[in-house]
């Protein structure tokens, strides 16, 4: 089963191709991790073309699409999700969404990524990789967790702990999606993990127009 995996929840966009078998770990055939900052929309489809070329495959060979649902900065996050949704729709493929933090690191760990506004997105996992806390968003100082922390090392000082650098990977996305890949009919809707309400303030005063 040939799977295209995408994620745009962090400043590094990920596009990968993996061959999933019923038994054993999926084999990653090609992967691009592009430090794209806020240029996910520009660079994602070229990255998909590149991994297909690298593997000598075409869109027609795909059997499923996996995409990270965040949490992550909203504008970039939506690029990956809508790309996955559109590819799946155009080719009639199942599209499986997973929590992007599930695809960072492995084993017992707490994952932190940049949520901007001086906050982090976080989630915690046990030895089997099962999520035991989060996903959430908070100030690093509020995240009081013992044990190994992986993700964005820029937050080490504010966490008061070492952060082992780790990013979203194709293998991680496949691992997180495994239950739904085994049974695509169990895949839920592609709902982004925003974790924050939209910034929107109603106009303060109805008569503000003459000062506006």
């Amino acid at each position: 089963m040939l799977v295209l995996a995408l994620d745009t929840a962090t400043p590094t966009l990920v596009a990968g191709l993996a061959d999933r078998s019923e038994h054993g770990a999926p084999e990653v055939l090609a992967e691009r991790a592009v430090p794209s900052g806020n240029r996910h929309a520009e660079l994602l489809t070229p990255a998909i073309t590149s991994v297909l070329d690298d593997a000598g495959l075409t869109m027609g060979d795909l059997d499923a699409v996996v995409t990270g649902l965040g949490p992550g900065p909203f504008t970039g996050l939506r690029v990956g999700i809508v790309t996955a949704a559109a590819l799946g729709d155009a080719r009639g493929l199942p599209v499986i969404g997973v929590c992007s933090l599930d695809a960072i690191g492995s084993g017992v760990r707490t994952v932190v990524t940049d949520a901007r506004r001086k906050e982090v997105y976080w989630a915690a996992y046990d030895a089997d990789g099962v999520r035991t806390g989060g996903p959430g968003v908070l100030r690093p100082e509020e995240l009081r967790r013992s044990g190994r922390i992986v993700g964005d090392p820029a937050f080490a000082a504010r966490l008061g702990a070492e952060v082992v650098p780790a990013e979203v990977t194709t293998a991680g996305l496949l691992r997180a999606a495994e239950p739904q890949l085994a049974d695509p009919s169990s895949a839920g809707p592609l709902l982004p993990l925003y974790l924050r309400r939209p910034d929107a303030t109603p106009p303060a005063a109805i008569k503000a127009v003459s000062q506006a």
Binding site: L44, T49, M59, R78, V82, A86, D89, A200, P203, K207
Partner: protein, 349 residues
């Protein structure tokens, strides 16, 4: 199945520059589908479009709106020959949902992608109703997001900006005046309705940038909006009732007067005898009537798309895409993105 005229491409168009998720299908100059989802109601209590709310709604609506367009056209996604998308100007986060979706559909289908200018698409949509555009034409585009006068020598390749608003868009002025009059958002339709029973010469509201030394084709609506608010405040302070119909009619007259006078002048100055209206404010009944009257006097042929095609929609993007395909314009590069302030002289990129 959609009827297939020999040689004409079926173009799928995406529009997400503001709060409307539009997906249109056009073959040649034939409109096959114009599916629309809107998040307007979610913005109402904020008195204006909230970008993040609009972007979230675009993502949710995208695939279902594509399905509706295909069903309306009796087509399948594999019938599509080319994909077009609004690449700017507009709200960045909103634009990017459409751009990413369009890029993915084009990639999945192995078809060319055209990133197009939203304003040029407002002009192109008229070809679906009134046939080939006379070139050159002058275009007056007025909505909540833009107020522009364009010279269009060749819609596929060359569009020039003659003038634009220096402050608020005309549609914004309608929204703000509606708010002070206690009318709902968006302000265009309720002001138009209220104005029907009013006297448009009751109050002489100011006409911005119409002095002899002002830029002949630029617009300003901020002063007008403030004048209306001050006039109402003065009435209320004096304990007198506000004549809503007269205020609405007089305000609407001031907007329509300036817009049409400048559009007709642009036609005259450039020796152009065709004027195209577009944008949501082009649905305003007084603007249409005054434009008809003044164009008739000046010997100008006026073309106004139906109200549904004047507001933002996917058909207009598909219409411009179709025009680009026919003209043999090169498709966009694979690293196409969004440009919130895409200049009008870039018709496609």
């Amino acid at each position: 199945m959609a009827e297939r005229a020999a040689g004409e491409a079926l173009v799928l168009g995406f529009e997400t520059s503001c709060d409307e998720t539009g997906v249109g299908l056009v073959r040649g100059r034939t409109l096959l589908a114009d599916a629309l989802a809107t998040s307007m109601a979610e913005h109402e209590r904020f008195g204006g479009v909230v970008p993040e709310i609009a972007s979230r709604a675009h993502l949710e609506a995208m695939v279902p709106t594509v399905h509706r367009a295909l069903a309306d056209a009796g087509a399948t996604i594999d019938d599509v020959d080319a994909v077009a998308v609004t690449s700017g100007p507009g709200l960045t986060g909103a634009l990017l949902v459409g751009v990413a979706a369009a890029k993915a559909y084009a990639l999945a289908l192995g078809k060319p992608l055209y990133g197009v200018n939203h304003l040029a698409a407002h002009v192109a949509v008229d070809e679906l109703q009134h046939g080939p555009l006379a070139e050159p034409s002058i275009a007056l585009l007025v909505s909540g997001g833009h107020s522009s006068l364009l010279l269009v020598p060749d819609l596929a390749q060359e569009v020039q900006s003659l003038g634009r608003t220096v402050d608020d868009a005309a549609g914004e002025a309608f929204d703000k005046v509606a708010r002070v009059l206690g009318l709902p958002f968006p302000g265009g339709p309720p002001i138009d309705r209220a104005a029907r029973d009013g006297d448009r010469s009751a109050i002489g509201f100011p006409r911005g940038l119409t002095g002899p030394r002002d830029a002949p084709y630029d617009f300003s609506f901020s002063g007008l909006k403030t004048a209306v608010a001050r006039w109402i405040e003065a009435r209320e302070r004096a304990g007198e009732p506000v004549p809503v119909a007269d205020v609405a009619a007089s305000f609407q007259e001031a907007v329509a007067d300036v817009l049409t006078a400048k559009a007709v002048r642009a036609c005259r100055d450039h020796g152009v005898d065709h004027l195209v209206l577009g944008g949501g404010v082009a649905a305003n009944s007084r603007l249409r009537a005054l434009a008809e009257e003044r164009c008739a006097q000046a010997g100008i042929v006026l073309r106004v798309p139906s109200p549904k095609l004047c507001t933002d929609n996917g058909a207009m993007v598909a219409a411009l895409g179709s025009r680009l395909v026919t003209a043999g314009v090169a498709p966009s590069a694979p690293d196409l993105g969004a440009d919130s302030s895409l200049p009008i002289d870039v018709v496609s990129r």
